[in-house]
C-alpha cells in the first residue's frame, strides 16, 4: 500500500515539475511582458506543487527505509547525506523512473501550443484535485486543496487564451488547429489510470466526461473543433505514467539535472 502511495505521489510531483520546467523556458522570451509574467507565475506555482509532493514522497520513502532496513531505492545510494530529499527525487531519478504524463513534456513550440497544453492539463488537474482533496490520505488531500486555488487561476487564464487565439485572427486560429493536432493524442493518457492511481478513490470516468464537456464549451466559444468531434475514436498515445516517454523527456532531464550530475553530493 505504501509503495502505491509513494508511486502516486511521485507521479503527481513529476507532472507538476515537468510542466513547470517547460513553462519556465518562456521566462524572458514571452510575446508581451504581462504574459511573460503570467506564464512564469504558473511555472512557479507548478514547481511549488512539485516540491510539496516530492517532500511528501521523500518523507514516505525515508520512513519506509527505516522500517525495512537498508534496501535503499536508487536515489538514496547517490548521496544527499543518506536521506532522500525533494532534490534527490527531482535530480537523480532517470528517464524510466519519471512517471509524468506525456502531455506535460511536449515542447513549447509556439504560444498556441503552450497555451493549449496548459489548458488541457489545468482542466484535468482541476477535476482531479477536486476529487483528490477528499481522498483518505490526509497529506495528499491537503496538497490538492491548497493547489486548487492556483489551478483555478491557471484554468481561467489558459481558457481565456484558447478563446482569444481561436477567435482572434486567421493566423492564430490556424495555429490553434495545428496545436490541437499535435497535442490531442496525448490527452487520453490522463484518464487511463496506472496501477498506482487506482486505490485513491478517484473516478477517472467522471474526470474524462467532465473534461470533454468543459473543453467542448471553451472550444465552442473559440470556434475550434476537437478531432473527430471529440469522441473516443482518435488514437491516444500512452506510456508516460509507467516511464515510457517521448524522446523529449531525456533532454529535459539532461538540463534539469545537469548541476547535480556534474557536481554530485554538494549543497547549493
Amino acid at each position: 500500500m505504501n509503495q502505491l502511495l509513494i508511486d502516486y505521489t511521485l507521479h503527481l510531483a513529476d507532472n507538476s515539475l515537468i510542466l513547470g520546467q517547460r513553462n519556465s523556458e518562456w521566462c524572458g522570451h514571452g510575446p508581451v511582458l504581462e504574459q511573460d509574467i503570467a506564464i512564469t507565475n504558473i511555472s512557479l506555482d507548478l514547481i511549488g506543487q512539485a516540491r510539496n509532493f516530492y517532500q511528501y514522497a521523500a518523507q514516505l520513502i525515508n520512513a519506509q527505509d527505516k522500517s525495512e532496513g537498508p534496501k535503499a531505492p536508487a536515489p538514496l545510494e547517490r548521496g544527499f547525506g543518506g536521506e532522500v530529499t525533494e532534490d534527490s527525487l527531482a535530480y537523480l531519478r532517470k528517464e524510466r523512473e519519471f512517471s509524468n504524463c506525456l502531455l506535460v513534456e511536449q515542447p513549447n513550440k509556439d504560444w498556441a501550443q503552450t497555451i493549449l497544453r496548459q489548458f488541457f492539463f489545468s482542466q484535468y488537474q482541476y477535476l482531479l484535485f477536486e476529487q483528490l482533496q477528499n481522498t483518505k490520505d490526509e497529506q495528499l488531500a491537503a496538497i490538492a486543496e491548497k493547489s486548487l486555488k492556483e489551478i483555478t487561476y491557471h484554468l481561467r487564464w489558459s481558457g481565456e487564451w484558447v478563446i482569444r487565439l481561436g477567435d482572434g485572427t486567421e493566423e492564430s486560429h490556424q495555429r490553434m488547429i495545428k496545436a490541437i493536432d499535435e497535442l490531442w493524442r496525448y490527452t487520453g493518457e490522463m484518464f487511463t489510470p496506472a496501477e498506482y492511481e487506482k486505490t485513491f478513490g478517484i473516478d477517472f470516468n467522471k474526470i474524462k466526461e467532465d473534461w470533454s464537456q468543459k473543453v467542448k464549451i471553451i472550444f465552442d466559444e473559440a470556434s475550434l473543433i476537437p478531432p473527430l468531434g471529440g469522441g473516443g475514436a482518435a488514437f491516444m498515445q500512452t506510456g508516460g505514467k509507467t516511464g515510457k516517454h517521448t524522446e523529449h523527456l531525456g533532454y529535459i532531464l539532461t538540463e534539469l539535472q545537469y548541476m547535480q550530475r556534474a557536481y554530485p553530493r554538494c549543497e547549493w
Binding site: P31, L33, D110, S172, E255, C266
Partner: protein
Amino acid sequence: MNTFDLEKIFQEKIDGEIKIEPKDWMPDAYRKTNIRQISQHAHSEIVGMLPEGNWISRAPSLKRKAILLAKVQDEAGHGLYLYSACETLGITREETINDLHSGKAKYSSIFNYPTLTWADMGAIGWLVDGAAIMNQVMLTRTSYGPYARAMVRICKEESFHQRQGFEILLVLSRGSEEQKAMCQDAINRWWWPSLMMFGPHDSESTNSEQSMKWKIKRKTNDELRQNFVDMCAEQVKILGMKLPDDKLKWNDKKQHYDFGEIDWNEFWNVVKGNGPCNKQRLDARRKAWEEGEWVREAAAAFAEKRKARQQAA
C-alpha cells in the same frame, strides 16, 4: 507666461524638492533626458532577464530554481513599472521598445557579459543588483515624480535580490573546492564590469552636470562607485574571497578604499556593441518580439470583436 518664467518656476520647484508631475510644464531637454534615462533603465530590466534566464532550466535545486525564476520575473515587473513611468512623458511602450530593437536606445552594458556557471547567479545578485541599488536608492529621490515612485517599489525588491545573490555565493564559499573556485571565478569575471555600471568618470561624463542641477541624479558616477567599492570590499571578507584588484587598499586618510583603474577600452568597446553578448541579447529580444507579433495581433483582434459584439447586444 513666457518660457523664461516657466523655467524659473520649474527650477524653483526642483530646488524646493517638489516633484515634477506629468502634467507640469517642463523644459524639453528635461523631458528628453528623463525619457532617455527611464527607457534605458526599463530596457536594462528586460534585457537583464536574459543572462539569469540562461540558468533557470539548470538551477541546482528546486528551491534555487524557484528563487531564480521569481527574481527574473521581478525584473520583468520592474520593466513594466518603468515603461509605464516613461509613458507619462508622452512616449508609448511600443515606440520605446522599437528604439531598443533598432539599437537607438541603450541598456546597461553589464548584461552583455555571459553567465558561464551557476556561481554567476550569485555574483550577479550580489554585484550587479548591488550596483544597481546604489544608483536606484539615489533615484527614489529623483525630481520626476513617477520615476521616483517606481524606484521606491523597485528598490525593495532589488535589495532582496542582492541578499539572495550573496547567499548563493556564501553557500558556495563554504562548499567543496570546486564550488569555492567557481565562486572566486565568478567574482573575478563580474567585478570590473560591475564597476563600469556607474559610467565614465565625472570628468568625462557629458550629461552629469545638467542632471545634477535638475536633480535627476543626486550623486555623481564616481561618488556612487566609491560607495560601492567600500561596501563590497567589506562584504567579500565574509565570503573569504578576493576582489580581483591589486590596488584595492583601505585609505585611512580618505576613509575610503583606494582601487585600481577600470579598463576604459573594454568599457567603450562594450558600449559600442562589441561586448561578448551584445548581439545575442539584442537578437533574443527581437526574436521574442517578432515571434510574439501574431499573439499581440490576435489579442487585439479578439478584443475588437468582443467590443463590437457587446455593443451589438
